[in-house]
């Protein structure tokens, strides 16, 4: 449906889900609860992509974020904080400065969004298809695609070098 198939109740449900889980990541005292809340938030974002007619990004989100990144983060938690047994010390004294700063950032971004003409021109959902995205990926953006594979290899090697044991260093 070209008029932008916007489901208000579905959107509100998803927005509440994403924001509550995002707040949970910030506010939970136990780091494992934060991680679980983060996984739920990523899942909600994947549903948001599906609602935005972007099934490819939704699937990649579930594969990469809900699958891989969450597992890596939980591994890191297991390797560090759970071993030492100490819970995270909660908010530090920066909260008095951070809260107004976050609200100010929200105000600035909202102001930019409202004053720009971004929502005024087109409301027709144009539905970029998987075919269109892949054509763009392998035709117009093939150089960034190859570059990103290089970045991934460099990150992998860097992570191995950083995280290996000290004694093995020559």
């Amino acid at each position: 449906m070209p008029g932008g198939d916007f489901h208000p109740w579905l959107f509100l449900f998803l927005a509440a889900w994403i924001l509550i889980c995002g707040l949970g990541v910030v506010a939970f005292k136990k780091i494992m609860y934060s991680a679980a809340s983060m996984v739920a938030c990523f899942l909600g974002v994947a549903f948001a992509y599906a609602l935005l007619n972007a099934p490819l990004v939704a699937i990649v989100q579930i594969l990469v974020y809900v699958g891989a990144i969450s597992i890596v983060i939980i591994f890191a938690i297991m390797l560090t904080e759970v071993q030492s047994g100490a819970y995270d010390l909660f908010f530090n004294r920066q909260v008095a400065f951070a809260a107004p700063l976050a609200v100010a950032v929200a105000a600035v971004l909202t102001g930019i969004m409202v004053t720009s003409d971004i929502g005024r021109i087109g409301d027709a959902a144009l539905n970029p298809s998987v075919k269109g995205v892949s054509l763009l990926l392998f035709k117009g953006y093939v150089f960034p695609f190859e570059l990103i594979s290089l970045v991934l290899v460099a990150a992998m090697i860097g992570a191995i070098v950083l995280a290996r044991k000290e004694e093995e260093k020559a």
């Binding site: 560090t80 971004l109 990150a155």
Partner: protein
Amino acid sequence: MSALYWWLTLAVLLFCIGAFGVLVRRNVIVVIMCLELMLNAVNIALVAISNFRGGALGAGELFSLFIITLAAAEVTVGLAIVIANYRNRRTVQTDQYDELKG
């Protein structure tokens, strides 16, 4: 009010929650998690704009795919640094990374 505004408002709010968490939390792993929230917010904005006025090609979706890939690389290197640091200092609290303090 256009539907795009609702999606962008959601992205702004999620971005600010993530930024607040990055500024406030002490545990460096939670800081990385909040960073991921901020990247997700940017992705929501990109996909929403791509859906509503990006043209049939979907460059916004493509950029969100690039951002997801870079986020995976970033979280790998970041957690490797955290674990290497934990091996030396036995802590993941940011206020105890104070070796440079004179």
